[in-house]
């Protein structure tokens, strides 16, 4: 319809939420436990440093995207690296996004099974998540962005519920600041990086966002700022609520913390918390599926719409999740992902940026969509 065609682009405001919702996901619950293994009481510093590091990565991605203003990374990969290497890397990106997506599904179903649906087979929970995801991602990008903006309130609600825990906290657990030393904090940063992943969305969404380059950079930075604050809040709250030995035992400290709260009207707020978190996790999953299906669509036909690739992307993701749900593989899976995170999120963009600067390659003036 004409009226919708006019402004088929996202606003830079919507870009903020696209990135936030993709970044914040299953990592929210397990983050503290992960970082705490290395950084202990200084985990919150690790998270802040990770946020700063991500900001640097975002700047690099932005510089790269700015050179190819009207193209997604899939479009300029072959132009910069040549057809064969470009296609191979393109394929790797699709696989990486699918792996991350299925990892999200696995983590999600694992947590759900541990906390609520103990007897429900995991593939049913996975299938449910995939169905909802398919239902959204098959729409156009603007609908996806609208939905992401709409469910942003879940993040706020998560903060509000968690803020109740400040009734019984002990700030002394934080002291002395810097107790673990720089090395452990750095290891903590590495652990936190996977939870921050999701800002790759910038590489794929960039041409579909209206506004100046500056606005887009601002949007990505605001998104990262919010994520950093939310994660820092979550980690900090968990650290001051639980003592270090307790934390070592709790896989999802946020949930245990919320579980102990009691209101006059409702009990067990962790169940509500988990329900809200389900939405947050689902949007993160949707973000990755979107990126994967756009890559998949581009792989077979340049400039085609992502919508036709969605069933395949969701199907493959679901199959991967069902195959690798076994806890034996999960550790390996996590290790692969945290390594490939650096390659795809920062390694490839830096190489692309360097090559394109050296060879003066820049965008061809054409709009795709």
């Amino acid at each position: 319809m004409e009226m919708t065609k006019q402004n088929n682009l996202l606003t830079s405001g919507q870009l903020i939420f696209m990135i936030i919702q993709t970044q914040i996901g299953v990592g929210l619950l397990g983050l503290t436990n992960q970082v705490h293994e290395d950084a202990k009481g200084d985990s919150w510093i690790s998270v802040i440093v990770a946020g700063l590091l991500v900001q640097v990565f975002i700047s690099i991605m932005w510089m790269l995207s700015k050179r190819f203003e009207n193209q997604t990374i899939y479009d300029y990969l072959p132009k910069v690296l040549g057809r064969y290497i470009g296609t191979i890397i393109h394929f790797c990106y699709v696989v990486y996004f699918m792996l991350v997506a299925s990892f999200i599904v696995i983590q999600f179903s694992k947590t759900v099974q541990n906390w609520v649906l103990i007897d429900t087979p995991r593939w049913i929970v996975m299938g449910m998540m995939c169905c909802v995801c398919f239902y959204l991602v098959k729409e156009n990008l603007r609908t996806i962005a609208r939905f992401f903006v709409l469910v942003f309130f879940c993040n706020i609600a998560v903060i509000v519920i968690a803020a109740y825990a400040y009734i019984h906290v002990n700030f002394l657990y934080l002291l002395p600041v810097g107790q673990e030393g720089i090395w452990n904090i750095t290891k903590g940063v590495h652990r936190a990086m996977t939870s921050f992943a999701g800002y790759e969305m910038l590489l794929i969404c960039y041409p579909f966002v209206g506004g100046t380059n500056k606005q887009k950079f601002k949007a990505a930075s605001i998104a990262n700022l919010f994520t950093t604050i939310l994660y820092t809040f979550a980690v900090l709250t968990s650290i001051i609520v639980f003592s270090p030995p307790e934390l070592a035992l709790l896989p999802q400290p946020l949930l245990y913390m919320v579980k102990a709260l009691s209101f006059t009207v409702i009990e067990r707020p962790d169940l509500y918390f988990l329900s809200l978190w389900a939405v947050v996790a689902a949007t993160s999953f949707m973000g990755y599926t979107y990126m994967a299906s756009r890559g998949l669509a581009n792989l077979f036909q340049a400039h085609s719409s992502h919508q036709r690739a969605v069933p395949y992307a969701v199907g493959i993701t679901f199959t991967l999740a069902v195959i690798f749900q076994n806890p034996r593989y999960l550790y390996l899976y996590q290790w692969i992902l945290s390594a490939s995170d650096y390659i795809f999120v920062i390694g490839v963009p830096i190489i692309l940026l360097l090559i394109s600067v050296m060879l003066h390659k820049s965008q061809v003036k054409e709009r795709i969509g």
Binding site: E2, Q14, M129, R146, F147, V151, R268, L274
Partner: protein
């Protein structure tokens, strides 16, 4: 799959009988009266309500024809017979008689036949090459009384009727503005129903009007008898639980929407106007909100939105809590609820379905039966069945409370279509809750929200101003700001100009020192 595709296929090439509208060639008047009358009679297949009478105009041999089922005898006396008898004694010309009759000249017989069917009388005079058509249509109009399905406490109590002319007049009377445009359409190949599209030319988005025009023109159907039929042909997504056109029988609602840059569709014989484009929240607004003060208006709107949430989620929430998450019930409440559901033999989802269906049955029975009997059914059903069902131990007390609250909430919506879609939507949510507890609710709500985000009504996003988010339009969404604060129209119908008022009276509201 092939079978289903064939069954639901709507491809014109495949369906065998596609009847083209027969193009009638104009038929000039025949020289002889009798030949003309015979031609008309043939064309109407000698229908028995066609009457032909001889008229005694001095000096002329003339006859007139009419369908008595469509014509008013009194009008025939006043419009046709009286002018002739008035002029009998004077030697007046025929011309003046015809002027008194308010007759129109016609020379195409096919056209005349169409007019005859509409309730005109046709006068043939020997030796003339034209015939005369006199409007003597009988009309039975009911009063412009307040529609029973859209009552308001304050404000105008007028309602649309079955006559298009009166309805248009009701609208025009309130918008005495040269920008109010009426576009006529004849819809339906058999019925040729007269349909009008009205909009304000300086407000409504021209692209919107073009789109509506295109959709109306593309209707290729035999029978269109009322606006509700048109709705399904022109809406964006027919396979959606949510209505995408707002039905109303209230002129003030139509006027208010026209002034926001929307368009309205009215049809002859139908008291319902269709408003487009609309958003989800239009269905939760009633003219009452604007007639009350800002505070109470906002409060009522808030209650309505809460009613939407209750109507969809409450039974599902109860089912999820009782069958999965009984931990969330506070300790003091646990015992009463436990004692109430302890001896119920059925799972909560069956209880809920049983009671919900009972309420739907009662509602339907209450509508179909005549007034007083309908109320009796409501009382018998509600009180007697409700009480007996608990005593018999089929359904728990708590479930009755939940179901009753849900039923009341679903009727709070000012729009009947939205109310029925809400009643349908709660079933999938309930089933989701019975299978997966809270997660089932969350996932089915997500599905509903995704669907709402993807819906469009004539090119405008259906769930505006929430998705896409536009804070300025929230002033008139759940909370209704005072009129002098609503400086801009809502953005969703994409009106040509957003500003609707300038500085109007903010000075009285706080600047006390001036006095």
């Amino acid at each position: 799959m092939g079978f289903f595709q064939k069954m639901f296929s709507n491809n014109p090439r495949k369906s065998s009988s596609i009847s083209k509208m027969p193009v009638l060639t104009p038929q000039p008047l025949l020289p002889n009266i009798q030949e003309n009358i015979n031609y008309v009679k043939e064309a109407l297949f000698h229908t028995d309500d066609l009457i032909h009478q001889t008229l005694s105009i001095p000096g002329y041999n003339s006859e007139f024809l009419f369908l008595y089922s469509m014509c008013d005898q009194k009008k025939i006396r006043d419009e046709i017979l009286k002018p002739i008898s008035d002029h009998r004694h004077l030697d007046q010309e025929l011309k003046e008689i015809l002027i008194d009759m308010r007759a129109n000249k016609h020379d195409d017989l096919e056209n005349v036949i169409d007019l005859l069917v509409k309730g005109n009388a046709v006068l043939f005079i020997e030796g003339f090459t034209e015939c005369y058509v006199i409007e003597v249509r009988s009309s039975h109009e009911r009063n412009v009384a307040e529609p029973s399905n859209e009552k308001t406490v304050e404000g105008s109590h007028a309602g649309f009727v079955e006559s298009l002319t009166i309805n248009l007049q009701l609208v025009r009377k309130h918008i005495e503005n040269r920008n109010l445009v009426v576009r006529r359409y004849k819809l339906g190949k058999q019925t040729r129903a007269e349909t009008v599209l009205i909009y304000l030319n300086n407000l409504a988005n021209p692209e919107l009007i073009d789109e509506i025009n295109e959709r109306l023109r593309s209707i290729n159907a035999d029978n269109i008898t009322s606006t509700e039929f048109i709705e399904e042909y022109i809406e964006d997504t027919s396979l959606s639980p949510f209505p995408q056109l707002l039905h109303t029988e209230r002129p003030d609602r139509v006027i208010a929407n026209l002034l926001e840059g929307r368009a309205a569709l009215l049809a002859e014989g139908s008291p319902t106007a269709l408003l487009m484009p609309v958003t989800f929240f239009s269905f939760y607004q009633s003219p009452d909100d604007y007639y009350f003060r800002s505070f109470s208006g906002s409060f009522i709107r808030f209650i309505r939105i809460v009613s939407f949430v209750i109507a969809i989620c409450l039974p599902a929430y109860y089912i999820a809590v009782v069958s999965f998450h009984y931990e969330v019930i506070p300790q003091d409440l646990l015992l009463p609820i436990k004692s109430s559901i302890e001896h119920i033999p059925y799972p909560p989802i069956l209880e809920a379905l049983f009671m919900e269906l009972t309420i739907e049955l009662l509602r339907e029975a209450g509508i179909r039966l005549p007034g007083p009997v309908g109320q009796t059914i409501g009382i018998v059903g509600g009180l007697v069945i409700g009480d007996a069902v608990i005593k018999a131990g089929l359904v728990s007390n708590a479930m009755i409370i939940v179901v009753a609250l849900t039923a009341i909430s679903s009727f709070v919506v000012p729009s009947h279509e939205m109310s029925s879609s809400v009643r349908i939507l709660r079933f999938p949510v309930m089933i989701g809750a019975s299978l997966f507890g809270f997660f089932g609710i969350v996932y089915s709500l997500m599905m509903i929200l995704i669907h709402l985000c993807s819906l469009h009504s004539f090119g405008t996003p259906y769930f505006a101003p929430v998705a896409p988010f536009r804070l300025k339009d929230w002033k008139d969404m759940i909370i209704r700001f005072p009129q002098w604060k609503l400086n801009q129209r809502s953005n969703d119908p994409a009106p040509q100009k957003l500003s609707q008022e300038g500085y109007s009276g903010e000075g009285h509201h706080g600047d006390d020192q001036a006095e």
